[in-house]
């Protein structure tokens, strides 16, 4: 069959690399991006220097937990590719990713006081944090079960 687990894993790894590229592009090209966005939304947001600076500051601040999450996601996929799936290290990586989403959500929430649409991102980040937390809980239980199974003779 054309599609298999190994290829699926490889696709996930390429997706992570793709997101890294997009995030790097957003970080580097933040100024022209914000300038373009502000010109496109003259009715809904202010056009002053502070409005632009706040927008850029929000993007750069939020990109910090985003980089951390992508780094951990890459590590997680690397471990899975090596056959180490239910390990305490992966549980830790999932926990960190979940907290990255919480941090990003909190930053988006604060930014929403300046520009309301950030609230949508805050809600999305909160939901993702919840999902990651549930996955982390599943992995945590799986690690315990694997430990028990490994020592069953």
């Amino acid at each position: 069959m054309f599609w298999n687990d190994r290829r699926s894993l490889e696709l996930s790894r390429w997706c992570v690399r793709g997101f890294c590229l997009v995030l790097a592009a957003v970080d580097v090209g933040c100024y022209p991006l914000v300038k373009w966005y502000m010109s496109m939304n003259r009715q809904t947001m202010g056009q002053g220097l502070w409005d632009g600076l706040l927008m850029m500051g929000s993007i750069w601040l939020i990109s910090v937990p985003a980089w951390a999450a992508l780094y951990r996601l890459g590590q997680l996929l690397k471990n899975i590719a090596a056959g180490q799936v239910f390990t305490p290290e992966n549980v830790r990586a999932l926990r960190i990713i979940s907290w990255c989403f919480v941090t990003a959500g909190a930053l988006c929430f604060v930014s929403a006081f300046h520009y309301l649409p950030w609230g949508i991102f805050a809600a999305a980040c909160g939901f993702m944090a919840l999902l990651m937390r549930v996955v982390k809980n599943c992995f945590e239980q799986a690690v315990l079960m694997k430990d028990e199974l490994d020592f069953t003779v």
Binding site: D147, F151, T152, V153
Partner: protein, 73 residues
Amino acid sequence: MAIRVNLDMMMLRRHISAGELAERVGITPANLSILKNNKAKAVRFSTLDALCRALDCQPADLLEWVPEEQPED
């Protein structure tokens, strides 16, 4: 662990080596070592059956409950 596996003693009585026992029971020497060193968290009935058969003994000859000290409140 409150359950102790007295495999060493039984092997000594029956004059059987670890490698031979592992082969007769059908488990890996690594798993037998886990059992012998009391690292096992569970023992399958099928393994216990094979052990009793190979060593010609009862499960009670292999397993012993040792009371553990309860932590004081």
